[in-house]
């Protein structure tokens, strides 16, 4: 039983570098949770505080029902996979795997049984006698995972474990990690700046920016109902399109206006806005592209059409904003075309302002 609870956990480096501004949430036992955010937002710092490698400036950290804030890393029943793997360079793979058990006084027979089990699970049996430098990146990555798994800890901490791998191997290891979690059902806390990894692996995602939690939720929640503009733009590729609009009443009906664009807005949503300068957010897949002049559509001009393989990204100029829409790969649209864009009404996000913190306005 090890849920991980952050109680106003805060870390300030030196006098005024606020790395983590106060984490206050609980990760239920057995979940796979990702901490995502741009570089420097405090993900690693948060993870290192859980590991006990960094002392929090204030706040408490609670595993299950035990306060572990002041415990040494080795007494926390955690294991960590480092971004650089941090394998002991002069030890063989087998010795690397065993080291933690050895330091905990496990007998050598038991250790070799564990090594066999882990090596089998991660398909590293054939190079148990090699040194880390004689392994490829992916193999090292597995050994690092193995070193964490072998001790069977309550909480796994992973700091960007896949970021040093090439794209193909990353996808493969991602799947392996997912399977592993299915099997072990241990709490895993996973740090990444790759929102796609977070989306595909996690039960819960914690989005951070500048040391502050922006939103916590399931991947679907985060993707479909981002709580603010930062989350909306950070999650998803391509990034959510933002069209600056003005909120106006026309004939008593609230509308979003921008140049040739005028979209009706529900009264309920409009009443939540605290200002008239708002932003309309639309994901690239929520546009429909049609022939110019279609009823309900907005005229737009195609700047570039980019084939990615499975589909086309259409870059358009819409009401002074540049937006990206997706189209099927065989779509005939090309640069210079005039088209008409229509919106799927339930997939529009309205943000109360133009900054990162602008909250999403949503009818209850």
């Amino acid at each position: 039983m090890a849920s991980v609870k952050f109680d106003k956990l805060r870390k300030v480096y030196g006098k005024d570098v606020v790395a983590v501004a106060g984490l206050d949430f609980e990760i239920p036992d057995g979940l796979f949770v990702s901490l995502v955010g741009p570089s420097g937002c405090g993900k690693s710092t948060a993870l290192r505080m859980i590991a006990g490698l960094e002392e929090p400036t204030s706040g408490r950290l609670i595993f299950g029902d035990q306060d572990v804030t002041d415990r040494e890393p080795r007494n926390r029943d955690i294991a960590m996979v480092f971004q650089s793997y941090a394998l002991y360079p002069h030890m063989t793979v087998s010795e690397n795997l065993q080291y933690g058990l050895k330091k905990r006084g496990v007998s050598s027979e038991e250790r070799s049984i564990s090594v066999k089990r882990i090596a089998h699970m991660l398909h590293i049996e054939t190079f148990l006698d090699r040194k880390p430098r004689q392994l490829s990146g992916g193999q090292r990555q597995r050994v690092a995972l193995g070193r964490a798994l072998i001790r069977d800890p309550e909480v796994f901490l992973l700091d960007e474990p896949l970021s040093n791998l090439d794209a193909k191997l990353r996808v493969h290891m991602r799947a392996e990690l997912a399977t592993l979690h299915q099997r072990l059902r241990k709490t895993m806390i996973y740090v990444t700046h790759d929102q796609l990894e977070a989306m595909t692996l996690s039960d819960r995602i914690v989005v951070m920016n500048h040391g502050v939690v922006q939103q916590i939720g399931s991947p679907a929640e985060i993707y479909n109902s981002p709580s603010n503009r930062f989350v909306a733009e950070f999650m998803g590729t391509p990034s959510m399109n933002m069209i600056p609009c003005t909120l106006k009443q026309e004939n008593g009906e609230p509308r979003l206006i921008a140049k040739n664009l005028s979209i009706p807005l529900s009264k309920q949503v409009a009443s939540l806005a605290s200002r008239t300068e708002v932003a309309l957010g639309v994901r690239s897949e929520d546009f429909e592209i049609g022939a110019p002049g279609i009823v309900g559509g907005v005229d737009a001009r195609v700047l570039v059409a980019e084939l990615t393989g499975a589909e086309k990204y259409i870059y358009l100029e819409l009401a002074d904003a540049k937006v990206i829409a997706r189209a099927p790969a065989d779509s005939p649209i090309c640069a210079g075309d005039n088209v008409s864009l229509s919106f799927k009404p339930h997939q529009m996000h309205v943000f109360d302002g133009r900054g990162d913190e602008a909250a999403a306005l949503r009818a209850a």
Binding site: R74, F82, R104
Partner: protein
């Protein structure tokens, strides 16, 4: 111009791209490529021959002759292995070999232990670290003669600071109870201490450089794996330092085994030959007393051979360790 043009056409394109002369059309005097290469290498080969191979060859050559040092120009008389036979039967030689070996082993061990310890201290963060890091090089930068003079004063039995300190703590009954450099055992210890003090900064600098590149996350991984400070020191720090320590040990051994000036300036090899090392014996045989240049050369050649053997064995061992 025509000539260059012709050559360019005649030769494969590869070559004229690689050859600097062909590119710019430098002028009529053209050195063929293979001569150019030799010409450019020649200076370093000559310097190498003059500075390394010639003295070594000359030393080996003269070790087969009986020559008076004051009469080197005559060339002496060829005596075959006579000088070497003399050496093997000479008690002083065996004594000096033993002293040299002990001196080298003790000095190098102490230098490594002290140097590593100091490097570890300097690697931790404290106020004024940069200043101390600079100061630590001080003994290494001081001229040997100055170092020896200072230590001779420190060791002085009557007005030396060392005796005064030991006396004031109460370990000895009178200030001049220990005549440091007059007693065989204490003279050996005294010379060892000076050699250690003078050259340990070398070890500090190299070990410190190595310490600074040990990835910090190894320690963090070990902490999480449950290793305490002592385990971390042995399993990570020391293990990471191992290679550099082995090389430093070899370098220091070669250096100290051949070192003449410290010992000679402090004790002249005395008292009662307690500090008579091989370099001093070479000096005494070839330049002092006997003035027998051939015998001196023979000792020097044997020293060289011993060091070569030590190095060979050492590198074999290193390579085997590496393959493990």
């Amino acid at each position: 111009m025509t000539r260059i043009y012709d050559r360019n056409v005649a030769e494969p394109a590869e070559e004229h791209r690689a050859s600097p002369r062909a590119v710019g059309g430098v002028g009529p005097t053209i050195i063929p490529d293979r001569w150019l290469g030799a010409a450019m290498l020649a200076p370093s080969v000559l310097v190498f021959l003059a500075l390394l191979i010639f003295p070594l060859g000359y030393g080996i050559y003269t070790s087969f002759f009986r020559i008076d040092t004051l009469d080197l120009s005559t060339g002496g008389t060829f005596v075959g292995f006579e000088n070497y036979l003399w050496l093997l039967g000479n008690e002083q030689f065996w004594h000096a070999l033993k002293t040299s070996t002990m001196f080298s082993v003790v000095v190098v061990s102490l230098q490594i232990v002290l140097g590593t310890a100091v490097a570890l201290l300097l690697n931790s963060s404290f106020k004024g670290r940069t200043l101390v890091r600079g100061l630590i090089l001080f003994p290494y930068m001081m001229p040997v003669v100055a170092v020896v003079l200072v230590w001779l004063l420190l060791y002085n039995a009557i007005f030396g600071v060392i005796n005064y300190l030991i006396f004031s703590v109460g370990f000895i009954p009178r200030v001049d109870s220990i005549a440091w450099l007059a007693n065989p055992t204490s003279a050996f210890i005294g010379v060892v201490l000076v050699a250690v003090w003078k050259y340990f900064p070398f070890v500090v600098v190299i070990v410190l450089a190595r310490l600074q590149v040990i990835p910090q996350d190894l320690y963090e991984a070990a902490k999480i794996d449950g290793a305490g400070p002592i385990s971390r020191f042995f399993d990570i720090t020391l293990r990471e330092l191992r290679d550099v320590l082995l090389v430093v040990a070899l370098l220091r051994t070669i250096f100290i085994f051949n070192n003449f000036e410290i010992v000679y300036l402090m004790t002249h090899g005395g008292p009662m030959q307690a500090t008579l090392t091989l370099p001093i014996l070479v000096y005494e045989t070839a330049l002092d007393g006997d003035r027998s240049f051939g015998r001196g050369s023979a000792i020097a050649v044997v020293m060289f051979a011993i060091l070569m053997c030590v190095m060979t064995v050492y590198f074999r061992f290193l390579r085997k360790e590496d393959q493990k």
